[in-house]
């Protein structure tokens, strides 16, 4: 095996792959735009919807309670604190609710004025349409306003009795968050990002690996290559490093896409929810270890992919094997995706895919455990060696190299 030969093959494979539109689109273009576009489209929709729900909440009084005094009470006292609620005057509120002209009907019992004066409980009915999200939300918004109004009256009454309203709150509760980093709302990030990194690196080399062995066999370029001077090991390594490189191209593309997306519109990082990046601080040493674990993951999967591509009798068959590989990769990925940084166990750090997810979760969660990170790195290196040895053994097998 000669480094010079490895480099010649690597250089040629990169040139060849870069000129392949299929590989470029699936490894670079798609990953780069996918998440920002999906999130901006979805996030934009969610934000717009949220805005619509909370703004211009139209309500009306029921026919029976629609008097000038009632309107005054509702508009000036009950709903006055929320400028988004609009009291509409309509003759047929039921129909208006049906036609989406209003979102909620408020009905006061007929004797409300006397009862209020005498300090008796009054009854307010809210009519809304459970099947319409906006109507449902409007009922909540109005109910909240009514409750505030209710509390106001309580305070008035207690004060008029010469008492301090504070007697209503015998115990005060205060919560203090002791989580490190004073994390913001980055759950979304803690869940998605590690999963995404591991998945992308694990499957990113697939187009390249499929092309570089099964593709070469299919196009009859493999045999001439085998008759050139370099030994099989050098040819394998050149291809292996090209595939590894392409595993990271997708990750870099997606991170670049996320970064650009974040600069343009912060909500592109998460679906309209505040990304909460402010509270995150990254431990540099832990980050380096995690990156090394990720590189090892990429190499492990490059070895597996080259092996599958070599075993396959045709390009089609290679693609089929690769789809199974994607499924097999997703299982450990999903299994760890929802686990919180505080619940990570050492076993997770010893298995491919899981180890990368766990390492990044740990770092984003701000609870660094160097023992687990080193454990992950050491086991990763073992996997790299095993998979590469497997691929190399296949490259030496006549039965798989020459199938007639």
């Amino acid at each position: 095996m000669k480094l010079k030969h490895v480099m010649i093959v690597l250089k040629k494979e990169i040139k060849d792959l870069i000129r392949d539109k299929r590989t470029i689109i699936s490894s670079i273009v798609l990953p780069m735009i996918l998440i920002p576009v999906v999130n901006i489209v979805m996030g934009g929709g969610i934000q717009k919807f949220e805005k619509e729900i909370n703004e211009n909440v139209t309500v009306a009084l029921s026919q029976s309670s629609n008097t000038a005094e009632a309107r005054e009470l509702v508009r000036d006292r009950i709903l006055s604190k929320n400028p988004n609620i609009v009291l509409v005057d309509t003759d047929d509120p039921v129909k208006a609710l049906e036609n989406n002209e209003i979102r909620c009907i408020i009905e006061l019992e007929s004797s409300y004025a006397e009862k209020l004066k005498e300090g008796m409980p009054i009854h307010i009915t809210l009519q809304y349409d459970e099947s319409k999200t906006k109507s449902q939300a409007a009922a909540d918004i109005v109910a909240w306003a009514v409750e505030e109004f209710s509390e106001e009256i309580i305070k008035e009454r207690i004060t008029s009795l010469g008492l301090d309203p504070a007697i209503l709150q015998p115990v005060n509760i205060e919560r203090v968050n002791v989580a490190p980093n004073e994390k913001g709302n980055n759950m979304m990030l803690e869940m998605m990002l590690p999963f995404m990194i591991a998945m992308l690196v694990a499957i990113g080399g697939i187009p390249a690996a499929t092309d570089l062995v099964a593709g070469e066999k299919e196009r009859n370029t493999f045999e001439p290559l085998l008759t050139t001077m370099p030994d099989r090991g050098s040819l394998l390594l050149g291809k292996y490093f090209a595939v590894t490189l392409f595993s990271f191209v997708s990750l870099i593309a997606i991170l670049a896409g996320l970064f650009i997306g974040y600069m343009v519109n912060p909500n592109s990082l998460t679906i309209g929810v505040d990304a909460g990046l402010e509270g995150i601080t990254l431990d540099p040493l832990a980050l380096i270890l995690a990156l090394l674990i990720t590189v090892a993951l990429g190499m492990t999967f490059s070895g597996i992919q080259i092996a599958l591509s070599t075993i396959a009798k045709s390009y089609k068959e290679a693609q089929t094997y690769m789809s199974f590989l994607i499924l097999a990769t997703m299982m450990p990925g999903y299994a760890t995706m929802f686990i919180q940084a505080t619940d990570l166990s050492p076993v997770m750090f010893t298995l491919p895919v899981m180890n990368t997810v766990a390492a990044f979760k740990m770092i984003l969660g701000g609870r660094i455990d160097y023992f687990n990170l080193v454990l992950a790195l050491v086991t990763s290196i073992v996997f790299v060696a095993l998979t590469l040895a497997f691929a190399a053994s296949l490259f030496k097998k006549e039965k798989v190299m020459f199938r007639n």
Partner: protein, 261 residues
């Protein structure tokens, strides 16, 4: 005469099946040796063993004095190969890049490659498309590019495995011309075919291979004169197998000459 290829008792088994069974022959420098045999006779397997792609089950092969099993890299550096059917060019690389890649792999310097490409482009009339991607070439252009690529490192030995199979008459004639051109440059050539007329036209000596065994061997004239006419007559309808004919030497050197030197 200098023996460029020396094959003794070569055997290749796939499981229990012997695809090549105790084949021996030698080829002198500048000679064209034809391996004639029907489909499945063992021609490709034999050539693959010479090219170090397959390991022999038994026997040995020396190319330019290098043992295919002990010094496979040195052997590969001495040979150029052309397969029949597909040209095996990289579609996304230009003709020049295709040629340069094989030059680099075979240990040539960048400067030497540049000069060689210029020379080959001229020799094969490829100046117009030398910088075009292989995918955009016509069949004829691809064939020229494949010729050029196979000799970029100026190998002393050329192996052709049914290079005309699937080609039309003109393309086949181009291949024949290329083979003769290699000969005129002093290269030693092994050439496999299932076409009698093709072999007769090009080869100095012929080995007839049947079910893995080399059943006849000699110059065209020798084979024509001798008992072997039987084989010629029966070539398409069936095979006449001469059992003891398992060794085949240069026409100039007889079997009783003794062991390898």
């Amino acid at each position: 005469m200098e023996r460029m290829i020396e094959v003794t008792g070569l055997v290749k088994k796939f499981g229990d099946f012997a695809a090549v069974d105790n084949v021996s022959f030698s080829v002198a420098k500048g000679e064209i040796f034809g391996l004639l045999g029907e489909n499945g006779a063992g021609k490709t397997t034999t050539l693959r063993m010479l090219a170090t792609m397959l390991r022999p089950t038994a026997g040995r092969a020396f190319l330019k004095g290098y043992d295919t099993q002990k010094e496979p890299e040195k052997v590969r550096a001495q040979i150029g190969i052309l397969f029949g059917g597909e040209t095996g060019l990289y579609d996304r690389l230009t003709v020049a890049e295709n040629i340069a890649y094989f030059g680099e792999l075979n240990g040539m310097s960048k400067a030497a490659i540049r000069e060689r490409i210029r020379q080959l482009a001229q020799a094969f009339g490829m100046e117009d498309f030398i910088n075009k991607r292989a995918s955009r070439l016509s069949k004829g252009m691809k064939q020229k590019a494949a010729f050029a690529r196979s000799i970029v490192h100026d190998p002393d030995i050329m192996l052709f495995d049914e290079p005309t199979s699937g080609l039309d008459v003109t393309a086949a004639r181009d291949v024949h011309e290329f083979i003769l051109r290699c000969k005129s440059e002093g290269k030693t050539i092994v050439f496999s075919s299932h076409s009698m007329s093709e072999v007769e036209k090009l080869c100095d000596r012929i080995g007839i291979i049947h079910r893995g065994k080399l059943v006849e061997c000699g110059t065209v004239d020798e084979l024509k004169k001798n008992t072997v006419t039987m084989i010629w007559k029966n070539y398409l309808s069936g095979w006449w197998v001469r059992n003891e004919a398992e060794t085949c030497d240069d026409s100039t050197e007889k079997r009783d000459k003794g062991p390898d030197t």
